[in-house]
Subunit: 579 residues, 2 copies
């Protein structure tokens, strides 16, 4: 990919529009049709999950997709309402104590606006690197826990009872409380849809493949199963009059496109929604970039992290002004888009047109759609997100990673998504700092005749009683400076013959000013005892900083380029002195 | 120092009491007399600074010292009210909006209790290492800024006007507002004391030394100057009837020792004071440990960080139940204690007795003491804390350290101590993470004939067009995993001949599971292109984790003990293949 000059840097669409031709158009159109079919029921379902009217899900799948087409840097990412962001929307607005549906909807629009502005500002500041501060296992753990909460939260729609909560204890207690109110007809529709979708998932793909349908096409047809379930249950509801049997239906949806309107800027509400907006943005962004990168890598394309912030920011602002709620790039729909052959973000633009047509023409039929059908769709979709294997993986590989993941999953399940994700971020940062604050320090010696120095405890090496050779396996900075000082003096221990201490700095990538002060004090104390203090293998960037410091001027010893050279020089000096 | 078994681990006093003799007793008694003389005016002054009645400063210098004698691990640290903690006390209680002096005092006691409990719990959990998370320059910057705020805050007492605030803008605006109310007599007392203390500081020590008085003794006499100023201005106030001329006096102080009482446990107030208590504890602890360590190093003694938490925790709880406010180890009084020859913490116990006697006998005379005298004492004392050279030092050494210090000083001056210190801690952590999230990656080659490999940009080295040798100067973890992936592929660049990539892992101290996933994906992509992927110089602890992972099983290459061996082996293989 050649560098995009000027405007194209901020409008990635200029790049791909240049090479746009009829063949690309056909590929994109086909993908758009398939994604539209998949996205209609998903949009309705995630609106239900977020607690907003069903049509809001459709609105959030029109204008945001257009904006992402213009500003997004991923070729195949499909943007729209997704499960985790919808749950987080419900959770954060639910805690505001709003009474009317209109207020709730305005809060959802405001949340999308704040989230969009936050992403846009980060993008303009080129803060894409911030995404890296979320560790991958923590994100996986969070999504797994969210999936469980979402699935359990939908059980009430399957049972046709009232229950609420954004964490497991609340959900269980309210479910049990209302267990007497189960509606048989609702349960019937719910269980049928669950069974239908599960069967499609398990057998349809394999069956189609057996019939000679290519695997990717079979996969796409399977993803269309929810649409079939929607059609079947709408007909069922119409014929059997399910509405009169107490089955909750989606109800009348206003036909036509959303009107453009600014969400009301209520300062008090902004204050309460700013933290949730940041959390939703960050989680949505990290997931989105990770999906975008995975797909891009398959076609040797690239995703620009900063441009993605701008693309997703623009999409969320678009969602806010067109009556929608927070959106981001979704995993399963992006994979469908990719597998269906989408070549450029234009596929997203065509999908938006498809959803717009559906919004204008199909809403009349959706009035009869049972909510239980949508709930079953959600349950089957999110159970795919649940992956507890990350717990086993981290347990085997590293206890620190395991603690961070287990804390994230545990806290998310028990106390909800916002505290859960904050716990995850904090736990991984604190554990990282804790690790670097107590670094591994190895005494080293030469593996005979190799000029290569390794840990005396792990390898058969040669050492000299005159020289203590310590390799510090960490940068020296404020969090470990005094620990390292203590460890060095502990290693000095009872060595009566000691003449020199060499710090081997192969793993020292930084010496900050706190650590520099500690080195000065070590140098002073060693000098008083007549012991030389030397450094070896100091890296260029570290040496640049040390150059000209008081420490280097007062150093009671030398800085050697290689550790081998240090040992040879000091041994020779000692031999000469003892002659 | 031999290991202290059993009880002595928690009661360091058992250790030194064993060896206590008459000579040590005399040394400790002498030091105690000198510290007592210095501590009486300081205690009164810091009480004034904290906003509590003068006698509270004395109370905070009795029982806390006894408890620190029993539980503290530093031999010479002198505990009591200090400037920065007093300022933080005033700032945090001031924001509660309390109306009566009694409520204010109870809040101060509660603050000491919370602070003591927090320190005690950290000590029992052996969390002494937490102190290391505060970078030294940040603490210096914070103390400098606090010193400026304290000095400026005392100006109102010198001028005899009302003014208030815990940051520079507030202080300036209220000072200017009341500038018309300046009291001449107060100003006279204030300026006299300032001039007297400044003169003592500048000439007394030099003069005494010139007269043959030993330097350490001259230093101690100089430190007693505030007592002389107190005596002079009390007499002046009595003779001239300063109280009637509008000079604010300390007023009647209840004689006798404080009675023991639990601070009232008001849940609402606890909630509001918990964060300030934590900040005061942390700052006080870090300062105290740093003073303790410096003094201990001079006599080859040791300070146990965890035990210090327990010692200071116990001292603060003692302060809370005896009508005091937060205390910690003070710099100047500890130096006086040390220079005066204190050998054991018993000196602190004797100081407590000295202060108790003063509380019972001297309070009658203190009624006539002008507050301006105390204010001048504080100004002269805290100006010694102000040290802006840290800004220059960090600017020269490292811009990242400079940013952290400048942010701390700036925010503390403009927005007050609590936000200031939080900013400092956050800034240093975020800057550290930022640095490690964009590590230095060097292409390396052999310095001819040395088996030693260095950066191609800094040294004349030999490389092979077949082999890309990259040294990553950082541990691989979630915050830099994707940056490193991008950099590796950027370095691959346009090398058509490339057959092998070797990652030289001398500086890699950890590979977490996020980074492991990235390595797997790099390995896959390189394998597809027929490029070998190798690691060299992997450290023992890192290798322990990698052993048995999927990554190592699928690795399209080898792990070499030394980088030299890696290059030799791969070059030989290629030569054999091309035959």
């Amino acid at each position: 990919m050649k560098a995009s000059p000027g405007l194209a840097r901020y409008l990635p669409c200029i790049e791909w529009l240049r090479a746009y031709d009829a063949r690309t158009l056909i590929d994109d159109l086909l993908a758009a049709v398939i994604v539209t079919i998949m996205l209609v029921p998903q949009s309705l379902a995630y609106a239900l999950l977020a607690g907003v009217p069903a049509e809001v899900g459709l609105y959030a799948s029109i204008l945001p997709l257009v904006l992402y087409t213009v500003f997004g840097s991923s070729r195949t990412l499909a943007v729209g309402p997704v499960a985790v962001a919808s749950l987080m929307t419900a959770s954060s607005i639910g805690s505001l104590g709003l009474t009317t549906q209109a207020e709730y909807l305005q809060a959802a629009m405001l949340l999308a606006m704040l989230s969009g502005l936050f992403l846009l500002v980060l993008g303009i500041l080129r803060f894409g690197f911030m995404a890296n501060f979320l560790s991958h296992p923590v994100v996986s753990g969070f999504i797994t826990a969210s999936g469980i909460i979402i699935a359990l939260g939908q059980v009430r729609h399957i049972l046709g009872i009232n229950a609420d909560g954004d964490n497991i204890p609340e959900l269980f207690s309210t479910l049990f409380e209302h267990l007497g109110d189960v509606n048989g007809a609702t349960l019937g529709v719910g269980l049928f849809t669950l069974a239908f979708l599960a069967a499609a998932r398990i057998w349809l793909k394999a069956g189609l493949s057996a019939l000679g349908v290519p695997a990717f096409a079979a996969g796409i047809v399977t993803k269309a199963a929810p649409v079939v379930a929607v059609v079947i249950t709408i007909i069922w509801a119409g014929l059997a009059g399910l509405g009169d049997q107490g089955v909750a239906l989606v109800g009348m949806i206003p036909a036509g496109l959303p009107s453009l309107v600014m969400p009301p800027w209520d300062t008090e509400m902004v204050r309460e929604l700013i933290v949730p907006a940041i959390l939703i943005s960050v989680i949505g962004y990290v997931e989105s970039v990770s999906v975008g990168k995975t797909l891009a890598a398959k076609r040797r394309q690239k995703v620009n992290q900063d441009q993605e912030l701008i693309g997703l920011g623009a999409a969320n602002i678009a969602s806010a002004v067109s009556g929608g709620f927070p959106v981001t790039g979704g995993f399963s729909r992006s994979v469908v888009n990719f597998d269906a052959g989408a070549q450029t973000p234009a596929a997203g633009f065509f999908t938006a047109i498809g959803i717009a047509i559906a919004t204008m023409t199909l809403t009349g039929y959706l009035a009869l759609l049972p909510k239980a059908t949508l709930a079953a769709t959600i349950i089957v979709a999110v159970l795919g997100l649940v992956d507890v294997s990350i717990l086993k993986k981290t347990w085997v590989y590293s206890r620190h990673d395991f603690i961070a993941v287990a804390a994230t999953i545990g806290v998310t399940l028990l106390a909800g998504v916002e505290i859960g994700v904050s716990t995850g971020v904090l736990a991984s940062l604190v554990l990282h700092l804790y690790k670097t604050s107590r670094p591994h320090i190895a005494e080293v010696g030469e593996i005979k005749g190799t000029k290569h120095f390794r840990n005396v405890k792990r390898h058969k090496v040669e050492t000299s009683p005159d020289i203590l050779q310590l390799r510090i396996d960490e940068s020296l900075y404020f969090a470990n400076a005094s620990y390292i000082e203590e460890e060095i003096f502990r290693n000095l221990g009872e060595r009566k013959q000691l003449r020199h201490v060499i710090l081997m700095c192969t793993a020292v990538n930084e010496i900050d000013i706190s650590a520099l002060e500690v080195l000065e004090s070590i140098n002073e104390i060693l000098a008083e005892q007549g012991i030389g203090f030397h450094l070896s293998e100091v890296k260029g960037p570290v040496m640049d900083h040390l150059e000209g410091t008081h420490f280097l001027k007062k150093l009671n010893g030398q800085v050697f380029l290689s550790h081998y050279q240090a040992v040879q020089t000091l041994l020779l000096e000692d031999t000469l002195l003892s002659l």
